[in-house]
């Protein structure tokens, strides 16, 4: 009976360990000057094997968060757990975390091979094992044959692969990447995004990635934490973040979004009617959170959800669709689509995208009717 209990307890304990997040931030705040906070009361956890992205504009605290985890900065308050252990106060060289730096930070006096072998040498890995492990990781990042090159003799993309290999070769439980593709041109960036995704899947390692590029974040991540002024606005899957943003900032930062300002005039709990400022046009908007009659609301609606025509709809479906008048500000060509900039009730710059073959026969200054399904809009109460 006792033995059974012990087994049961230990099994339960192991299960608990397995369920536990690999990385946890609990109540982390960081202030460099004691007044302003770079990161404020941060709580997040990253699961094993996850590709987790910290996304936000520059100065939003995402890089600071990464540096806190790497150990180059220490938090003002709060705790960081790695594998269940509090690592605040542990120096970076004892954390066993791989870091890929923004500008590669390759050692200029060492060859490609020696750069990648560096973490293994620091860990006293014997020579034979060392070269086989370096060889293996070189294959993973597709750099075999370049091992004897100097770091000054390789391209930016190759340098990034070396940096990646160096951070992966000692098999750390988690790899941090700080805007690793920021310095590369667009095409190379896309190739390396594919590469990073492939390597992440191949090695099933945990990655925490920092970027300000939302399309990169959407493409790579399992989950994204959206940062704004040191605070996490929303943590969600790419799909969740794109399709159901929780704040107007999230709606505006991820993908393209129009925003119309208005005031609640009536409505039930989930869908309210708002009167758009500058005219008497009324639209239906799904809204989340507490709200009251007369509250100021921002309506966010993505350009691709809007259809437009020069004439009013013949069979209006007011219970399902919104229809508003607008005036064409500009028509621009974007290769695979046309883009119409419109003014709706004096609110400028409301964009509509139309596939190439469906060009509308309207000119600048002419009237346009814009329609979208009520459920595809998002209303946010303005604080």
């Amino acid at each position: 009976m006792l033995a059974f209990q012990t087994i049961w307890i230990s099994e339960n304990f192991e299960k608990q360990l397995k369920d536990q997040a690999l990385v946890q931030f609990r109540g982390i705040s960081k202030s460099f000057d004691g007044a302003a906070y770079a990161v404020r009361d941060l709580n997040l956890s990253v699961e094993r094997g996850e590709f987790f992205t910290l996304l936000g504009p520059s100065g939003s605290g995402k890089t600071t968060t990464l540096m806190l985890l790497a150990g180059f900065e220490s938090p003002t308050t709060g705790e960081i757990f790695l594998d269940g252990k509090n690592i605040v106060g542990v120096p970076p060289y004892h954390r066993n975390i791989g870091v890929v730096f923004q500008h590669y930070a390759l050692f200029p006096h060492l060859s490609v091979f020696e750069n990648i072998a560096y973490p293994l040498r620091m860990r006293g890995v014997p020579r034979g094992e060392l070269s086989s492990r370096v060889g293996k990781i070189l294959e993973v990042v597709e750099l075999d044959g370049l091992e004897s090159r100097a770091t000054s003799e390789i391209s930016g993309g190759q340098a990034q692969r070396v940096a990646l290999a160096r951070a992966l070769v000692f098999e750390p439980p988690v790899v941090l990447m700080d805007e690793p593709l920021g310095a590369l041109d667009k095409r190379l960036r896309e190739t390396l995004q594919e590469e990073i995704r492939r390597v992440h899947r191949e090695l099933s390692t945990t990655v925490i990635y920092v970027t300000h590029d939302q399309s990169e974040a959407l493409f790579l991540s399992d989950r994204i934490a959206l940062f704004r002024e040191g605070v996490v606005e929303q943590i969600d899957s790419p799909n969740g973040l794109y399709c159901s943003p929780k704040t107007s900032f999230a709606a505006g930062f991820i993908g393209e979004n129009n925003s119309l300002e208005g005031k609640i005039v009536s409505g039930s709990n989930q869908v309210v009617q708002i009167k758009i400022h500058g005219s008497d046009q009324i639209v239906h908007v799904p809204i989340c959170g507490a709200h009251r009659h007369g509250a100021e609301v921002t309506l966010c609606i993505r350009p691709e959800y809007i259809t437009a025509s020069p004439s009013q709809s013949e069979s209006p479906q007011a219970h399902r669709e919104n229809e508003v008048r607008g005036y064409v500000q500009s028509v621009t060509f974007h290769g695979d689509h046309w883009r119409y900039c419109t003014v709706i009730s004096q609110q400028e710059n409301q964009r509509i995208t139309v596939p190439l073959r469906e060009k509308l026969s309207v000119k600048e200054g002419e009237m346009l009717f814009l329609r979208w399904e009520i459920s595809s809009g998002d209303g946010f109460v303005v604080d």
Binding site: A70, Y93, G98, V99, A105, L106, H109, Y118, M122, F170
Partner: protein, 271 residues
């Protein structure tokens, strides 16, 4: 690959080239003149220090090599030079790191302070050291000479190493830390190899400073601890035979050797 940019200038014409060549040769000759006097005289066969020498012989070189006075002076110069270089390089490099990486009030002031030995007239330093070392019983000792020369050489190390450190990307240290290197390991395997050319240049300058320093050495030498420049200086006042020139030639050879070694080390470090 650097592309050579060509543009028209006066010196492309043949007359211009001739003028430029003439001018350059004159400058070169001017720079080499003292050597062209000293080296032949070192191999003189005459009895006195005269130029041009009456004939060629190696008798004075041999004399110097076999004279206990000269050999001990050469030994003193080399040991003092090496010891002073080690001290000044060690502390100069440490100071440079603190001055460049440190973030504290009065950093620039302190930097100027470290360069003080360059600004203070050597005679003033020498007098001060003389009076101080007389009290401490360091006159005419190896230790006294090393300490004095290390002080004179350190500013060169501080200057050159600071300049090298300014161009050093400190993120490399964080990279080394993240890969498991302890602070000392990161310094030894990353920082030091990268700033090595600066450290070697500083060390070389420091060694040369000590090796041909005469003012402080004269003040501190006392009666029995003499370096080569001191012995030469005293020698030229009493006995004007060509052995002075022979020693000069030897000094030159040592300097040249030191410079070549340093350059080779630098090239190896760069690879």
């Amino acid at each position: 690959m650097k592309r050579r940019v060509s543009s028209y200038s006066f010196f492309s014409s043949s007359f211009g080239r001739l003028l430029l060549g003439l001018y350059s040769s004159l400058v070169l000759a001017y720079l080499l003149l003292p050597l062209m006097v000293i080296i032949p005289m070192g191999f003189s066969s005459g009895k006195y220090l005269t130029f041009p020498p009456p004939g060629f012989s190696v008798q004075y070189v041999q004399e110097v090599v076999h004279s206990p006075q000269w050999t001990s002076a050469i030994w003193n110069s080399i040991t003092v030079g090496v010891a002073a270089t080690v001290l000044s390089t060690l502390f100069g490099t440490m100071a440079a790191i603190g001055l460049v990486w440190g973030r504290f009030r009065g950093r620039l002031l302190l930097f100027g302070f470290f360069l003080l030995p360059l600004l203070v007239p050597v005679v003033v330093s020498a007098t001060g050291l003389y009076l101080l070392f007389a009290k401490l019983g360091l006159l005419g000792t190896f230790l006294g000479m090393v300490l004095a020369h290390a002080m004179l050489g350190a500013p060169f190390v501080v200057m050159v190493v600071s300049a090298t450190l300014t161009g050093y990307d400190r993120r490399l240290i964080n990279a080394a830390f993240s890969l498991g290197a302890h602070p000392w390991g990161a310094f030894r395997t990353v920082t030091l190899p990268i700033i090595a050319p600066g450290v070697v240049s500083g060390a070389l300058l420091s060694f040369m400073t000590s090796f041909d320093e005469v003012v402080v050495a004269l003040f501190l030498s006392g009666s029995d601890y003499r370096t080569v420049p001191v012995l030469m200086f005293q020698g030229i006042r009493f006995e004007l035979d060509p052995s002075i020139a022979a020693v000069g030639t030897l000094l030159l050879a040592v300097s040249l050797l030191a410079m070549i070694t340093a350059e080779l080390l630098r090239r190896r470090a760069r690879r």
